[in-house]
Amino acid sequence: MAVQLEEMKTEMVLLQRQVQSMQDTFNKTNGELNTLIVQMSDNISAIRRAQSSISTNTNDTASQVAAMGERLTATNQRMERLSEQFAQLKKVIEDIPKMPTFSQITPGNAEQLFAAAYSDFSRGNFQLALSEFRQYVEIYPGSELADNAQYWVGEIFYGEKKLEEAAAEFDKVSTLNPNGDKTSPAQYKRATILLELGKKDEAINQFLLLIKNNPKSNESALATQQLQQIAPEALLPPVQPGAEKPVRRPKKP
């Protein structure tokens, strides 16, 4: 019985140690746990602070993003509507049987540029024609059609009643090609413009120059008609020194 009691005491001590050990372990674990909890708590606090900070920024950013999103959505909707309208408009435009424009002008193709310019003149698109003819003269001053283009520049100004500019432009025609087929028309036009401007003497000289240079041209005949009206004496041959003075005979009744 005593032995049994001793054994029970020993077991009790062992149990107590185990309990103590367990308690120690528990305490240690608990301490570590507490430390961990404190650390976690600190971390959590830090995280929360950070979160708080981030949250503030995020809230601002989110609201901005939301606003931008709304605007983007609205813009997208408008874009979609515009796109639809554009597609419809494009189709309408494509479907319209429109008058053809002149073929596309290939850069460097002088003939195409001249043809397009004259086509525009013939169709009454004078400003476009002016720009094209000027471009032609600028790019191809030595070409066969440069004097033609210059003539049409003068013609367009003349049509607009810009007489000074027209006279100046017509004057350039013979410079580009003195023997060209546009010299006589340009000189005649310039002379008539000078008349309109009241510069009679200059006009007479221009008419006379035209008649002298191209006596067989249609413009020469027109110039002669003009001179017969404004200065018939200019058409008389100069009196040679010593020549007999013509006798005026009385008209028959």
Binding site: Q88, D95, I96, P97, K98, M99, P100, F102, S103, N109, E111, A115, A116, A117, Y118, S119, F121, S122, R123, G124, E144, L145, D147, N148, Y151, E155, G159, N177, N179, G180, D181, K182, S184, P185, Y188, K189, T192, N218, E219, A221, L222
Partner: protein
């Protein structure tokens, strides 16, 4: 440019025959095969005239009666609208056999899916009703947007109402004024007659009892000049649209082929000053004639104003040997050949938009046909092939050409699209020298 070079600067691109001899344009890119340029001109003309398979589709539902005793007017109205819109060629007209069976008279009856989907598949639908013999209302709807584009309240006789509606639709779809209400003058039984553009309503304009030739409207359609033998010598007579005489020339010799400029000046050819036929420009009443051309023993005839600018005239001259087309400024300056293709040319007609000149040409010895030239580039296109065809006259919208043809065995007035397609006979009892009022 050197003198005389221009004569040879015309490239004949499209003549439909390889037998024609002509100078090749030294200034154009002759490396380009003619067929490519021909295709390009055809392509450009294809943007003027809607060809099958291209352009929008238009369904023209029969108008419905909203009143009694309008059957005759209704039939005339429906036929006329259909013909107007078909000839306008601004859209492909969907065949009526494909239309829904339900009658459509007003917007409440319009079912978009029926007209917008197969088999009709129209982009636009025209419909409406006659509320009386002289009253109608018409509608035009866009099938895709389901929008109403036009509500037209019309009054007049059935044909006139149909023409009004067609012109309104064409204006809406293209932005260009329609021609359904335009008129054509022509010669019949030695007098000037005037008819609607589709050949209906022909009536005598002159009753001179002599010989009338070459009628020519002013660009606004308010004056008409023609050649009359009423006082012995052929001279020009100018009448207002009411028929009253505004003026005339009183020359000895032959005075012929009048043309009225946009500002009312009269051009004609005359031998009044000698043996040569020369080109003259006069005031609108024929007074104060000024000679433009000065040739010896040459024939200069058929002056035609550029109706767009009024600053140049095209005419025919044989000074170079055979009758060819020349241009000259309204003041007599800057005269030059524009088309020198050999053979015999006649009756140049400048398009109202100023871009093209239609003319008669025998192609260097063949039958006379109608051709068209791009004024600036010199590209030429043959438009007719059947019978003998002469005296082209442009429609006000520059999209159609009237001409005289003997393809039926007698000279009659015909009209066709600018590319020569869809010729339609306008007169049935004979006609020559058409002039289309603008």
């Amino acid at each position: 440019m050197k003198k005389g070079i221009l004569v040879s600067t015309i490239l004949l691109l499209i003549v439909g025959s390889s037998a024609f001899l002509f100078p090749v344009d030294a200034t154009l890119d002759i490396q380009n095969p003619a067929s490519q340029t021909q295709d390009e001109l055809r392509r450009q003309l294809g943007t003027i005239i809607v060809t099958p398979g291209a352009g929008p589709s238009l369904a023209v539902a029969d108008f419905q009666a909203r009143s009694t005793n309008v059957d005759q007017a209704l039939a005339m109205f429906n036929e006329t609208v259909w013909r107007d819109l078909k000839f306008a060629s601004v859209a492909n007209i969907v065949g009526k056999s494909l239309y829904p069976k339900t009658r459509l008279a007003d917007p409440s009856g319009l079912r978009f899916e029926e007209w917008g989907n197969e088999p009709v598949k129209a982009d636009y639908v025209v419909f409406g009703s006659l509320t009386g013999n002289t009253e109608a209302q018409g509608f035009l709807y866009d099938m895709k947007t389901r929008q109403q584009l036009l509500t037209a309240r019309l009054s007049g006789d059935a044909r006139n109402m149909a023409h009004q509606l067609a012109d309104q639709i064409i204006k809406l779809l293209t932005g260009v004024d329609g021609i359904a209400l335009s008129k054509i003058a022509y010669i019949h039984n030695r007098e000037v007659y005037v008819m609607d553009y589709d050949g209906y309503g022909s009536r005598a304009f002159t009753r001179d009892g002599s010989i009338a030739l070459f009628p020519a409207w002013s660009t606004d359609g308010r004056k008409l000049a023609y050649v009359s033998y009423r006082n012995g010598y052929p001279n020009i007579v100018i009448r207002g649209e009411d028929g009253l005489i505004i003026g005339s020339t009183q020359f000895k010799g032959t005075t012929t082929s009048p043309s009225i400029s946009p500002n009312g000046s009269l051009a004609f050819s005359s031998s009044k000053d000698g043996d040569s036929m020369e080109i003259y420009v006069a005031n609108g009443d024929g007074s104060n004639a000024r000679k433009l051309t000065r040739t010896r023993n040459s024939v200069n005839i058929s002056p035609r104003w550029n109706p767009r600018t009024g600053r140049e005239l095209a005419f025919i001259s044989d000074r170079g040997g055979s009758p060819q087309i020349y241009l000259i400024g309204a003041d007599g300056t800057n005269e030059r050949a524009i088309l020198s293709l050999g053979g015999q040319m006649d009756s140049p007609a400048w398009s109202p938009d100023g871009r093209f000149i239609a003319f008669t040409w025998d192609g260097g010895g063949g039958t006379f046909n109608i051709y068209m030239a791009d004024v600036a580039s010199g590209q030429v296109l043959r438009l007719t092939r059947e019978g003998r065809n002469e005296n082209p006259a442009w429609s006000p919208d520059s999209r159609h050409i009237a001409f005289q043809s003997n393809r039926t065995g007698r000279w009659e007035i015909w009209a066709m699209h600018i590319d020569g397609s869809e010729p339609r006979q306008l007169t049935l009892n004979g006609g020559r020298s058409p002039s289309w009022a603008y």
